[in-house]
C-alpha cells in the first residue's frame, strides 16, 4: 500500500430495488409468480394495450408504507405517480410508472452492525434518502448474443413487467465495501422480517446498484461517481466496492480520469467493467401520471400499519444482548433470519435458558437445517421440545452426550425428549449410592491402578471415569462420578 492510500476515502451509496411480495402486480390482478413459462402472467394492462388503465394495488401501498416505517422514513400524506419515459422493448408502455419528485417516503435511517473477521464490530447509522414505488420491467432474451447488440433476434417475457418494486435510496454514508454489504443485508433482513419481500437475490427480488466515488479525506469534495450493477450476493457487493475503490484510487494516482459511467460486476473475473458512459443524465421526461390520482395515506392508516410492525432485527439484537445476556455474535446470528429468532424466542419463553437455547439453535440445529435445506418453520422438533431437552440437561437428568444421541431422532421426527429417554432407558444414574456401589466394584477390579494413583499418578482419574462410563453406557452423572471417585481414591 503506497503512503497516499491512507488518505483516500470511499463514498458509497446504494439504490436497492426490493420486489414487494404481493400476489398480484402493482397496477393489475395478473400474478407475480416467478419462474413460469414466458408471458403466462400477463394481461392487457401489463402489455399496455390501448385503452387500458392502471389501478394501484392497495396491498402494494401497505407493503411500501410498512417498509418505509421500518426504515424510519417520513410517510407523505399525499404523493403521486409519475411517468419515466424511455424506449426499450422490455417496457410495454415505453414509460415506467414510478415516483419522481413526490415519493411515498423520505428521510430515514437504519442502524447497521458492521462485523468483519479480525476487526472490531461496530454499529453505523446509515441515512436513507427516500423510498418510492414503481413497476418492474419485463425481461429480454437475446438469441446469438448475451446483449441486444449482436443478437440475431430478441424475445421479450413480460411476466415480471408490472411487478411492484420499492426502490430504497441510501444517503452516501457508506465508506467501505463491508459497510455496503452489511447495509444491503440489513435492508433484506428488515424486508423479510416485515414479510413484504423474500429478498431473493438470485431470483432478482432484491437488486442493488452501488454509486461509488473516492476522495482524499472526509472534507474533500466528492469525486466522480461511478455506478456498479449486476451483483448477485452481499459478498459480491463487498468485493465489487473494494475492487472499484482500488481501481479509482489507482486511476487518480496515475493521473488518469475516472469517468462518470455505469460498470458491471463480473463475478467470474472478479472485476468491474465499463457498460456505458453516462455523460449528463438521461432525459426521462418525467411528468405526473394522469391515469392515477394522488396517493393518500391518512395518519390513521399509517399508524394502524405501524402498529402491525414486528420487532425489527436491530431491536432484537439489542434486547438479546441486554436482557438475555447473549454475546453480540450470538445475537447477530440468531436475528439474521426472522424464523430463527422466532424459534429462539419460543424456546426461551418455554422456560429454557437463553445461552443454552442459543448454542443448540445456532450450532447443531442450524447445521442440520442447512444440510437438509430446511428452515425453522419446517422443523418437526418444536421449540417447546428443545426447551424440555435443555432443562433435562440442566437438571442433570441426561448428559449433553445423551442429548446429542437423541437429537437426530428429534430433528427428524420431533417428539418428547423425556419419553425418548425413558423408552430407550437413557436416563442418567444420579443416585450416589448406586454410583458408590459401581465405583467400589471398579476399584476392586483394578488394584494396580488404584495403587499407582495413590502413588501420585493423578492422570489415572480419567481412566477410572472412562471405565465407569463404559460400565454404565455413559448414563452416570459425570459430576457425581468425579466427586465420589476422588473421595474413594483419597480414602
Amino acid at each position: 500500500m503506497s503512503e497516499s492510500d491512507l488518505t483516500w476515502e470511499a463514498v458509497i451509496g446504494l439504490e436497492t430495488h426490493v420486489q414487494l411480495g404481493t400476489n398480484s402486480k402493482i397496477f393489475t390482478a395478473a400474478s407475480t409468480t416467478f419462474g413460469d413459462e414466458p408471458n403466462t402472467h400477463i394481461d392487457p394492462i401489463v402489455c399496455g394495450l390501448p385503452g387500458t388503465l392502471p389501478v394501484l394495488n392497495q396491498k402494494v401501498l401497505q407493503y411500501a408504507v410498512k417498509a418505509a416505517l421500518a426504515l424510519n422514513l417520513n410517510i407523505a400524506e399525499q404523493s403521486k405517480f409519475d411517468r419515466k419515459q424511455y424506449f426499450y422493448p422490455d417496457l410495454p408502455k415505453n414509460y415506467q410508472i414510478s415516483q419522481f419528485d413526490e415519493p411515498i417516503a423520505e428521510d430515514g435511517w437504519i442502524d447497521v452492525e458492521v462485523a468483519e473477521k479480525g476487526k472490531e464490530t461496530y454499529t453505523k447509522k446509515v441515512g436513507i434518502e427516500r423510498l418510492h414505488m414503481e413497476e418492474d420491467a419485463g425481461k429480454l432474451v437475446h438469441a446469438g448474443s448475451d446483449r441486444l447488440a449482436g443478437s440475431t433476434h430478441s424475445l421479450v417475457d413480460y411476466n415480471r413487467a408490472g411487478v411492484a418494486l420499492a426502490e430504497i435510496v441510501s444517503k452516501p454514508d457508506l465508506r467501505t465495501g463491508r459497510e455496503a454489504a452489511e447495509y444491503a443485508a440489513e435492508i433484506r433482513r428488515i424486508m423479510r422480517y416485515l414479510g413484504v419481500s423474500d429478498g431473493n437475490m438470485q431470483e432478482g427480488s432484491l437488486r442493488c446498484d452501488v454509486n461509488i466515488s473516492v476522495r482524499q479525506g472526509p472534507n474533500a469534495p466528492f469525486g466522480t461517481k461511478v455506478e456498479i450493477k449486476n451483483m448477485n450476493s452481499f459478498s459480491a457487493i463487498q468485493k465489487a466496492c473494494e475492487y472499484e475503490i482500488q481501481r479509482q484510487i489507482n486511476a487518480y494516482e496515475n493521473a488518469e480520469l475516472v469517468v462518470q459511467e455505469t460498470r458491471l460486476w463480473d463475478e467470474s473475473k472478479q472485476l468491474t467493467k465499463s457498460m456505458r458512459s453516462k455523460e449528463g443524465s438521461s432525459d426521462y421526461r418525467y411528468f405526473p401520471d394522469p391515469d392515477l390520482g394522488p396517493i393518500e395515506v391518512s395518519k390513521e392508516l399509517r399508524e394502524s400499519w405501524r402498529a402491525e410492525l414486528p420487532e425489527l432485527p436491530a431491536a432484537k439484537r439489542t434486547r438479546y444482548i441486554e436482557e438475555l445476556g447473549l454475546s453480540a455474535y450470538d445475537a447477530r446470528v440468531l436475528t439474521d433470519e426472522y424464523s430463527m429468532a422466532y424459534y429462539f424466542e419460543e424456546v426461551v419463553s418455554s422456560g429454557a435458558d437463553a445461552k443454552s437455547g442459543s448454542n443448540w439453535i445456532t450450532g447443531d440445529i442450524a447445521a442440520y437445517l442447512k444440510s437438509t435445506r430446511q428452515s425453522f418453520v419446517d422443523l418437526p422438533f418444536k421449540p417447546k421440545q428443545l426447551a424440555e431437552m435443555i432443562n433435562m440437561i440442566n437438571d442433570g437428568k441426561i448428559s449433553g452426550k445423551i442429548a446429542k444421541e437423541i437429537l437426530p431422532e428429534l430433528l427428524a421426527h420431533g417428539g418428547s425428549p423425556q419419553k425418548i429417554v425413558a423408552d430407550r432407558g437413557l436416563g442418567m444414574i444420579s443416585d450416589p449410592e448406586v454410583i458408590t456401589e459401581i465405583i467400589d466394584e471398579l476399584l476392586k477390579d483394578h488394584p494396580n491402578e488404584v495403587e499407582a494413583f495413590r502413588a501420585g499418578k493423578k492422570k489415572l482419574q480419567g481412566f477410572f471415569v472412562g471405565q465407569l462410563m463404559k460400565k454404565t453406557s455413559g448414563k452416570a452423572d459425570p459430576k457425581l462420578v468425579n466427586k465420589i471417585l476422588i473421595k474413594k481414591l483419597s480414602d
Partner: protein
Amino acid sequence: MAIAEWRQQLQLGKVSARELVDQQLERINEVDQKLHAFLDVTVERAYADADRIDEARLAGDSLPPLAGVPLAIKDNLCTKGINTTCSSRMLQNFVPPYESTVTERLWNSGAVLIGKTNLDEFAMGSSTETSAFGTTFNPWNTSKVPGGSSGGSAAAVAAGECMAALGSDTGGSIRQPASFCGVVGLKPTYGRVSRWGLVAFASSLDQVGPFANCVADAAEILQVIAGPDARDSTCLKASVPDYLSSLSQPLNGIRVGLISECFDQKGLQTEVKKSVLSAADQLKNLGAEIQEISCPRFNDGIATYYVIAPSEASANLARYDGVKYGFRAKEFESLSSMTSCTRSQGFGKEVQRRILIGTYALSAGYVDAYYKKAQQVRTLIRRDFESAFQKVDVLLTPTAPTTAFEAGTHADNPLSMYLSDLLTIPANLAGLPAISLPCGFDESGMPIGMQLISNVLEESRLLQVAYQFEQASSVMETAPGGHCIPF
C-alpha cells in the same frame, strides 16, 4: 324518432328491433358512400343484438332502457372482438380482447351496435380529415367537414344512420362536431364517465359522451354510461342522479352567464354571435336571468391545451412501437430503426406533430417553461370558472367560432385549425361538463351550435337548460334548406 318514442313503439310491437336495424342499414347504404361516417358497419352483430331484444320482448321479459336502440361508436372506444383502429394505420388491424366500460354498459342496457365511426387519427384534429382512412363529410353540405375529432359519430347521428352515438371529447371533439352537424353533443364532468377502454389521447382531458338528436336522448345515454368504475382510478365515485327527471323543470331564477371574452373574438362569425345572443334572449324569456361574466384567462385555454394535451399524448402514444401489437414497419436495420420506422410510417402527420410538441414540452430544460407553466395556467382557468359559478348557474358561449368549413380549408395551416377549439377547450382544462346544441343556421344553411357549461357534476342543470331551450325554440324546424342528404 326519439329514444322514448322508439321504446313505446317497440313495447307496443309496432316495430321490431330487427326492423329498426333494417331501416338503419338501409339508410347507411343510401348515404354513407357520400358521408363516410362509418369505418365498419357491424351488420351481423347489429342483427344479433336486435334479435335478442325481440326475443326478450316476445317472451314477455321487461326491456332494458335502451332496448333495440341502434348506436354508432367512435372507433377509439374498444369493442371486444371488433376492430378498434383510432383511424390510424398503427391500429388498422387491432382487435381488442376487452370491452370499454361505456360500451359494456350500453350493451347491458339493450343497445344495438350498428358500427364504428371515423375520427381524426387518435382523436387529434377538428375536422376528421386526419383519419388515415379518409375524410368524413357533413350531411348538411358534403363539401364541408363534420368537425372533429368525433366527426363520424356526429355525421352518423345527423344523417339518421343511427339513433345516437358515442364520441370522446379532449378539447371539444364532441361539442364542435355536434355544432357543425346540428346535433346535441355532451361532454360530461371529467371522471363522470369511465375511460376504461377509451384509447387515450390526453388522459387528464379525455371524456366520453353522447351525440343525440335531442337533449332527452343525450340524457338517456348519459344515464347509462355515467357512474363509478373500479377499473378507472380517475372515475368519480359520486352516485348518478336521475337526469331525465330534471329536464322538465322550468328555468325560473336560473342564472345564465355570457362569457364576455368569448363574444369579443376576432374570428367569431357574425351569424354565430347573433344566433347565440338571441338564444340568450330566449332563455331570458323562459325565466332565466342573463348576465355578462368575465373569465379573464378563457382565451389562454388554447395555448395551455396545446402544451398539456400533446405532452400527455407523447407518453400515451409511446407504446405503439411495433413490438407487441399493431403496425410494424416491414424493413428496418436495428431495434431503434424498427421503432422509428414503425412510428413514422404508422402515424400520420398531425399525430407526429403533436408527439414532437409534447416530447419537446416535457424535455429537460423546457419542462418548466412549457409543461409546468401550462399546468399553472390551467389552475388559473379553473379558478376563473370557480368564481364565475359563484355568480351564475350555467355559462353560455358559442360552441365554435364558425359553422362547418370547407374540407381542406386548414390543410396547410394547423394553427388555424386549432382555433376552432378555442371555445370548447376551457371546459376540458377545468374538467367541467358542457353541452352543445343547435341554436340556429347561418346564411348558407349550416347549423350553429351554442355551448352551455355548468359546474362540476351538474349535468342535470346543463340538460335542464338545454332541454327547455330546445323545446321552446324548435330550432331544427327552422332549417332553411334542410340536409343536402335528404331523408
